[in-house]
């Protein structure tokens, strides 16, 4: 019994120190911003590998999610003779929820796991130690550009997702199912408020981008530097990011749309 509590306490203590390390890392990466401003090239390369390489999956997913929303929405709305609300339904669900959330989940799977594995392997092969001994701070030189690249990319990817989703819904609704075009766009524009829906959606994706990239980088940097450690860290990145996104989404939605 005492052993159980001792274990529990030890586990809690470990979790707390991890949390502390994660915040110290965040602070240090913020300081790395200075270096990035001096050498934007560092950021550019990372935006490429974190953002540009994620465009394809985001675009395809966005388009298909929008098309499915169009189909399903049409079947349900047409039962009440409310097809004209299809545009509003598709756009509202995308802009408020699906765009930011699905983008963040896909980002964690595509870019977050890659970030963790890359940083974990750099640690395992002593590249990070090597940088330190060359008087280069890896937190500023290696981690900070990746962090800000992710932070910057996710909102743009989410906007892309939502735009293509609306297009997909419009293709299905307007093209295949002959919903009135004017009603589709008008209903959307009347129902979607710029400040309430679009800005809040963007805020969500900014928060998700911040959290997902932070988790990915911290897991890589804090992993046990072996093959197994890296593989575990990669799994943890995807699991923790997904849970964080879903949990935060609930909290943010409750705060924003109540």
């Amino acid at each position: 019994m005492i052993g159980f509590f001792a274990k529990l306490g030890g586990w809690g203590l470990q979790a707390l120190t991890r949390l502390g390390r994660a915040h110290l890392l965040l602070l240090s990466m913020m300081r790395g911003l200075l270096e990035i401003l001096r050498r934007p090239r560092l950021l550019l390369d990372q935006v490429f590998s974190v953002g540009v390489l994620t465009i394809l999956i985001i675009a395809v997913a966005g388009l298909f999610v929008g098309m499915v929303l169009g189909l399903q929405g049409f079947y349900i709305l047409s039962r009440f003779g409310g097809e004209t609300a299809l545009g509003l339904m598709v756009a509202a669900s995308l802009v408020r929820e699906l765009g930011p959330v699905l983008t963040a989940l896909l980002f964690a799977g595509r870019a977050g796991s890659a970030l963790t594995a890359e940083i974990g392997l750099m640690k395992a092969t002593e590249q990070l130690s090597g940088l330190e001994m060359m008087a280069v701070n890896p937190e500023h030189r290696v981690l900070a550009p990746r962090f800000f690249a992710g932070f910057l990319s996710v909102p743009l990817l989410a906007a892309l997702f939502s735009m293509l989703g609306v297009m997909g819904g419009w293709m299905v609704g307007g093209g295949m199912l002959s919903v009135d075009q004017g009603a589709f766009w008008n209903g959307m524009q009347n129902g979607i408020d710029f400040r309430e829906d679009i800005i809040n959606g963007v805020i969500k994706s900014v928060v998700f981008g911040f959290v997902c990239t932070w988790i990915a980088i911290f897991q890589g940097y804090d992993c046990v530097p072996t093959s197994e450690g890296v593989s575990r860290a990669t799994t943890r990145t995807v699991v923790h990011s997904s849970l964080a996104v879903l949990g935060l989404d609930f909290v943010l939605t409750a705060l924003m749309f109540s």
Binding site: E126, Q127, G130, M133, M134, A135
Partner: protein, 275 residues
């Protein structure tokens, strides 16, 4: 210890006093005192797992001792503020056991990396310097290869070129000879000697390779069981015919230097007797 101080009146480059360091509950170092003189090649020897790499990391300020001090060029490494520590590290080169090359850059870019980070040199200057350093390790032709395309020995030589890129005041070599064929080994031994004599770079060489290390070292420290067990010049050590030298040269499993990682006796372990 006092012997070395008597011979050399200038203060040592690295001065280690009362160093204690542990991993978990095991003391890797238990009271190490050591001086590393300027402008000489100092070898640190000891069996695998005694903490030679750990010692280099303590000197470089990557690990923090539990007790004791490490001074490099008169500065207490672990009391320095981060920017000062980084300034000090710019004057220390370190060759990692694994090479630690940046895998997303070519050989050329790896050697150019410290120059680009710390100097404002023009591209043509950097090119010249990098090619010279690569020439010194015999890999000028390999400049466009990626680290994944190098053999272990080649990677270590590239890492050496990178370590000397900034012309540091000291270089720490962690196992520079493993994985080298006799020719490149000879070249490396000469290179370390030459860097030391011509460029006045102090060298710390960590190695298992007794014959080659004794050939280039001016001063040898042997660590075992968390302590310095013998130190002196190679000649002194060979003359004194200390037990460790005999054991090392002849490769005997038993002697003052234990081959085994600390453990309960084999009989207890195998028969699963309570300790």
């Amino acid at each position: 210890m006092s012997k070395a101080e008597n011979i050399d009146p200038t203060p040592p480059l690295v001065r280690i006093r009362g160093l204690r360091f542990r991993r978990g509950s095991r003391w890797i170092f238990d009271g190490v005192d050591m001086d590393i003189p300027r402008g000489k090649v100092t070898a640190i020897m000891g069996p695998s797992g005694t903490g030679k790499t750990t010692l280099l990391k303590l000197i470089g300020g990557q690990l923090r001792p539990d007790e004791g001090t490490v001074e490099v060029d008169g500065e207490n490494v672990h009391a320095l503020k981060t920017p000062d520590l980084y300034r000090l590290r710019m004057r220390m080169g370190m060759l990692f056991q694994s090479g630690a090359l940046l895998t997303d850059m070519s050989v050329f870019e790896n050697v150019a990396f410290p120059l680009r980070e710390h100097t404002g040199l023009t591209e043509s200057m950097i090119r010249k310097l990098v090619l010279l350093k690569l020439e010194a390790v015999g890999l000028r032709g390999a400049r466009d290869l990626m680290p994944s395309e190098l053999s272990g020995g080649m990677a270590r030589r590239v890492a050496l070129a990178r370590a000397i890129a900034l012309d540091p005041m000291m270089i720490m070599y962690d196992e520079p000879f493993t994985g080298q064929d006799p020719i490149s080994m000879g070249v490396l031994v000469q290179l370390i000697r030459r860097l030391n004599d011509a460029a006045r770079i102090s060298s710390v060489v960590v190695s298992h390779d007794v014959t080659d290390t004794l050939r280039i070292a001016d001063q040898v420290h042997v660590i075992s069981n968390g302590r310095v067990v013998e130190s002196g010049s190679p000649a002194q050590l060979q003359e004194s015919g200390g037990d460790w030298t005999r054991q090392f040269i002849q490769g005997l499993p038993d002697g003052p230097v234990p081959f085994h990682y600390p453990a309960a006796s084999l009989r207890e372990d195998v028969l699963e007797l309570p300790a």
